[in-house]
Symmetry: C2
Subunit: 282 residues, 2 copies
């Protein structure tokens, strides 16, 4: 099989595959790039993971994920920063192990409101503070921090950065900080076209991720993403915005979906390649 | 019992009560205003409903709901406009039957994407077209059309107007068209403060509805609203924005929640009055 040359399979789509399996099924489906997650990397150890990636010949398009910056107590905040510094090192090592064209991009999820805390502007301000605290480490490691705006459905418990515009408001304060454009999170935004264009003008698009918005939403809203073509998002329209904004990197498929997770990883990799070719507009 | 003088119980909160019961439990809880829904009004007939409202001595704060403007075929579009014209007449009749201080406000829900249609900008444009087609009828009847931005979680299947700013972009094209500020739908918006202020400057806040955002989201995301104080929204902060924007009308409590719907309507009316007093910041 061969797949679109810019397609990258994000490991979350084949959540239950370990790293060797994930690399193997990606390659077998003709996909030439992979988006890695920290947990399966940690399961084999960073050095072994880097060796496996190097052996695979695949590009690495990003590492998921850092972030979770919203804790209000000092100890938790320091722990989050320390963990993100480790994630920066992992990102650099894995991208270096990947094939040419790999991107040293660390995806940052903001984190939700601390328990019992209703101060959303306060939590959002702490995200910007944490990014500020990490910018030098990231630059030293050659890593791009990529702030991912999350769908407002997750504002309370997962990601307080809710729009692309808001992510750019944070990213533009710093050199070398970008944003993630994930269709599931941003497709509904009336300002999407203008904010993608803005991200392009300032060179801030660090990652483009595709998937779909399906209805009815499944009982667990975290698993509400569908395969491209199965939902309501005009993916070619979003892709055209991102292309026009000058983004020329890998395009990740990241899907959290129980039915997909329950299926065979190899089969999902092949379905992903087919759906990508048919529905993304690249 | 007595309740806050600006509290209005939206009938959706006591969904399974018929109109006579809804009016009775509202009054018994010391609440002096009610937000009506078309279905329970239709169940008794408009004339009988108006007489019941007049007898109750309650104010009417709004009628839910018109809208559903996104159909792309002509017949369905004409049917939607005709239905909205009937809703305008109902709004006028019910507000006239209510006690002094009643508001002739028709809440408009935009509607979702037509089946199989991924053209979100197109659907949004049809909403503006439909409002344009109804403005004169509404003005003739003394009714304010109130566009309700809905949480982006509903963009595909219920309401393509996703932010307060977007609702204002439509409303401001016309005289006598307002917006609904519903905390569940707008609390996450990074532009909330500036858009509420904008709505105030142009006199566009036609309704303020309160409730809460609870986690984890229940399996049916349509029923994800909680009682004030049970969730993550900083209600006093939003109320302060709305107050500063000059809104001085009734404040509706509108909650779609299975547990609340399953409880006794009289008990819910009393819980609503108590939670309103404790958590809304009025």
């Amino acid at each position: 099989m061969s797949a679109h040359p810019r397609l990258s399979l994000n490991q979350a789509t084949i959540k239950h595959a370990d790293l060797p399996t994930a690399l193997a099924v990606t390659e077998k489906a003709g996909i030439t790039s992979i988006g890695l997650w920290r947990e399966p990397v940690a399961a084999v150890g960073l050095a072994a993971a880097a060796a496996l990636v190097a052996d695979s010949g695949l590009r690495v398009s990003s590492l998921c994920r850092g972030g979770f910056f919203t804790a209000s107590d000092d100890a938790a905040r320091r722990a989050a920063l320390d963990d993100n510094r480790r994630a920066i090192e992992e990102t650099a090592a894995l991208a270096a192990a990947g094939a040419p064209g790999s991107a040293a991009v660390l995806v940052l999820v903001a984190g939700g409101l601390p328990a019992g805390d209703r101060d959303l502007p306060g939590a959002r301000a702490r995200v910007a503070d944490a990014v500020a605290a990490l910018v030098e480490d990231a630059a030293a490691a050659g890593v791009t921090l990529a702030i991912e705006p999350m769908h407002p459905i997750y504002a309370a418990d997962r990601g307080v950065i809710s729009t692309l515009g808001q992510a750019l408001d944070v990213a533009e304060q710093f050199a070398g900080v970008g944003v993630v454009v994930d269709t599931f999170h941003v497709w509904w935004d009336p300002q999407l076209a203008e904010q993608v264009a803005r991200a392009g003008r300032t060179g801030r698009i660090a990652s483009y991720q595709v998937n779909d918005w399906i209805t009815p939403l499944p009982p667990d809203a975290l698993l509400a993403r569908g395969m491209m073509g199965d939902g309501h998002i005009d993916l070619p329209a979003v892709t055209a915005m991102v292309e026009q904004a000058g983004y020329a990197g890998d395009v990740e498929v990241e899907i959290f979906n129980q039915e997909i997770w329950d299926a065979d990883a190899g089969e999902i990799a092949e379905r992903t390649a087919t759906a990508f070719g048919a529905h993304v507009g690249l």
